[in-house]
């Protein structure tokens, strides 16, 4: 008899006023009782509508049935047939707009907590199963993956399971991409990312860090000199965008990329590390996406008294996940909606070491007009509504443009006018034979799970490509 409760089991969480001062994980994960109870809410629909919403097509009702039966390792094995990073997806996927959006239970009441169950299963496996996975028999074919982010890790995992000899080349000193440098510890503990990368290594995937492909080895050399039969490019999003307003190059104007990289990858929040970060008192974060929420909540944890989200549209249009917005509000982040920066002022001082620092920000109120080409209502300035925000730090989180390194060093690799790599669509083949691409390098900034979906599709296409040679 299924559990007919209209509500999901709530996720246990750290208290907002405690967690906004530490970097430990916000959500604590289901207990076994909660997981069993939640799993029994699944009706096990034959049509499996939830699966249509999953970019990597995890067999959701099957794994939930195993959870309901208390067979957690079996549940894990079902998930890992389709996902290389279940502990990550269970935490950062926007389930409300994917699997859970199509859950029948959601028509009347809340959908099944699919993401929370996925997380429970992945965490149970990590804590309880110590055996190494079975290393598949090698098929003798070599594939190179450029970039150890969600797209690359997924592509590598799928190919390794098919028997390919896979090497991932990563530019940074650690594998994980945005999971390591971008998403904060309090949403995705780095030890979990490391465990997922270690799982891939146990499958035989080689990870070469400090390798800047395009510069130290070109894509052509990977194929001609190093014997790789196919290459997957998953180099992610690149350079931060700025607004081109006066004062953007003052000290303590950070891109969200820089701010988060200093704190997440370089661990600037710890006393033992060498990378510095300025701990500001009043911080404005410009933008309304997940990255903006991450930056704002990070600034709060670094000790800021007032942290503002400055976003030019209204609450309804915030592109961040609702859950992230709610978490931010609970933690005391102040939302300055329908307003946009005009200029950033330098500090008014004669001290030559302080002169070049942020002293405040002028904003202007906005109102929403007719929908623009994106379908969202266009924000319009309200004349004469300028006001000053007292801040000593501004973090710009309005998106990124693709990294130019691979494009500039690979002849015949087509990119669009934004600099994104052009692919044939479903399987990620680029304008160069045997060269595939996926994730933010192709789509521009998007989500972890979409990048994983692209990595997965490319892995299948690469397999077909090499087998048909």
């Amino acid at each position: 008899m299924p559990n007919m409760s209209l509500k999901k089991n709530e996720m246990p969480q750290q208290d907002p006023n405690v967690r906004n001062k530490n970097f430990s994980e916000v959500a604590l994960g289901y207990t076994e009782e909660q997981a069993l109870d939640e799993a029994q809410r699944c009706l096990g629909c034959k049509a499996r509508p939830c699966m249509k919403g999953c970019p990597v097509a995890i067999k959701i009702p099957e794994f939930i049935a195993k959870v309901a039966a208390g067979e957690y390792e079996e549940a894990y094995q079902i998930i890992s047939q389709d996902s290389s990073l279940p502990a990550v997806c269970g935490r950062v996927c926007p389930q409300e707009s994917q699997c859970e959006k199509f859950c029948v239970r959601g028509k009347k009441g809340e959908p099944v907590g699919i993401g929370r169950l996925e997380r429970f299963v992945a965490d149970w496996h990590r804590e309880n199963v110590k055996e190494d996975p079975v290393v598949p028999e090698k098929n003798g074919h070599k594939v190179a993956i450029v970039g150890a982010g969600p797209a690359g890790l997924t592509c590598a995992g799928d190919l390794a399971r098919m028997g390919y000899d896979v090497t991932i080349f990563e530019a940074l000193h650690l594998a994980g991409g945005v999971l390591i440098y971008g998403i904060p510890e309090f949403r995705l503990p780095k030890a979990i990312v490391q465990a997922e990368v270690d799982n891939l290594k146990k499958l035989g995937v080689k990870v070469e860090t400090n390798m800047i492909i395009g510069k130290v080895i070109s894509i052509d050399e990977l194929m001609e000199d190093y014997g790789f039969e196919a290459v997957f490019i998953g180099t992610g999003a690149g350079l931060p965008r700025f607004q081109n307003i006066p004062g953007e190059n003052l000290n303590c104007v950070y891109s969200a990329n820089e701010y988060l990289t200093r704190v997440n990858l370089m661990k600037a929040f710890k006393d033992t590390t060498a990378t510095p970060i300025i701990r500001s008192k009043n911080v404005a974060v410009v933008g309304g996406g997940n990255v903006a929420m991450d930056a704002a909540r990070t600034a709060k944890r670094l000790g800021a008294e007032n942290v503002y989200i400055v976003y030019r549209r209204s609450d309804e249009e915030l592109p961040a996940r609702r859950e992230e917005v709610e978490h931010a509000k609970e933690e005391g982040i102040i939302f300055k909606l329908l307003c946009n920066p005009v200029q950033i002022y330098p500090k008014d001082t004669d001290d030559k070491f302080q002169k070049g620092f942020v002293g405040g920000m002028q904003c202007i109120e906005m109102e929403l007009g007719e929908p623009d080409e994106s379908g969202r209502r266009r924000p319009i300035k309200k004349p004469g509504s300028e006001f000053d925000l007292d801040v000593d730090c501004v973090i710009i989180a309005i998106g990124t443009s693709p990294n130019p390194l691979i494009k500039d060093t690979t002849e015949g690799l087509d990119t669009n006018r934004h600099g994104c790599i052009v692919t044939n669509g479903e399987d990620g083949l680029t304008s160069r034979p045997h060269v595939y691409a996926g994730g933010d390098a192709v789509t521009g900034a998007a989500t972890v799970i979409l990048a994983m979906g692209a990595g997965k599709a490319a892995a299948a296409a690469i397999d077909k490509d090499i087998m048909n040679k």
Binding site: A171, I212, K215, P240, N249, S255, E258, G356
Partner: protein, 282 residues
């Protein structure tokens, strides 16, 4: 994890050290003007250093650094045969040297370490090279012989007159220009204040001037945007658009202001590390 071995260490002066790091793939690809990013240990910060030379045979990449903060102090305490944790490159665009007939290469302080491989490359391709190198005082002079070897004319300047001619590199450059030398280009590498004044001078004489920026970076691969500067009114990123830029277009005042953001950290951390080493030695 792969480590990067120190093949050679040499103190060039009391505050400047040369190291050869074993990184054969980088040695094979690096060109003058490009840089690397290194981390000394697992808790370390990533710092960019411009490549001072390479040896394809031994796989060595030469770096020359001034001891200014905690990281360079730690690095300076590493000995031959020891290793550092991370070393990645070559990053940035190489210096463009094609088609230049006559060039004045201006180096200031430790910037001479970066200017030298460019002067060498120019010399090897048959460009007439005039080198002007400047230091605060005689004890800080580095790479004098090396510059002599690749220049048809070399001028040594010191601020206090303790060696060479007393004065600034700009004095020497102006003299050479006034003496009728027509340079296709001036390449100036050194402290930002020096590069700024070289550019003000060459603007007056309408001589194209290329400078090499060394701003604060985190990843160095085109991700963080920390190295941004204003060139010709536009935001550029030193790591992927540079580090070389047309000096007449660079907003040096903004760049100088950005370079001091972590000064208080740098000073405090440097002291901490120095005290640590002093304790160990005691």
């Amino acid at each position: 994890m792969d480590m990067y071995r120190i093949l050679k260490k040499e103190c060039l002066n009391p505050t400047v050290t040369l190291m050869d790091i074993e990184a054969p793939l980088i040695a094979k690809k690096a060109k003058p003007g490009q840089f690397i990013i290194l981390r000394v240990d697992d808790e370390g910060e990533r710092i960019p250093l411009t490549i001072a030379g390479t040896d394809k045979e031994t796989g060595a990449v030469t770096i020359i650094f001034q001891i200014v903060g905690a990281t360079t102090e730690l690095l300076n305490h590493k000995e031959e045969g020891e290793s550092i944790t991370d070393f990645v490159g070559p990053l940035g665009r190489p210096t463009e040297t094609e088609g230049l007939k006559k060039v004045a290469v201006v180096g200031g302080g430790v910037g001479c370490a970066i200017a030298l491989p460019i002067a060498r490359a120019l010399h090897e391709q048959g460009t007439e090279v005039h080198s002007i190198v400047g230091f605060r005082t005689k004890d800080l002079v580095i790479l004098e012989k090396e510059f002599e070897a690749c220049s048809s004319k070399m001028v040594m300047m010191t601020d206090d007159g303790s060696y060479g001619t007393k004065g600034l590199v700009t004095n020497a450059l102006e003299e050479l220009i006034n003496a009728g030398n027509e340079y296709d280009e001036v390449i100036a590498i050194g402290p930002m204040i020096m590069m700024k004044f070289v550019c003000l001078l060459t603007k007056k004489y309408n001589v194209k001037t290329v400078i090499s920026m060394n701003p604060i970076m985190v990843d160095g691969t085109g991700m963080c945007g920390g190295c941004r500067l204003i060139v010709g009114g536009e935001t550029k990123f030193a790591c992927v658009d540079g580090p070389d830029f047309d000096g007449h277009l660079v907003d040096f005042d903004s760049a100088m202001s950005r370079s001091i953001i972590y000064k208080p950290f740098e000073v405090a951390d440097h002291e901490k590390v120095c005290n640590l080493f002093k304790k160990e030695e005691a």
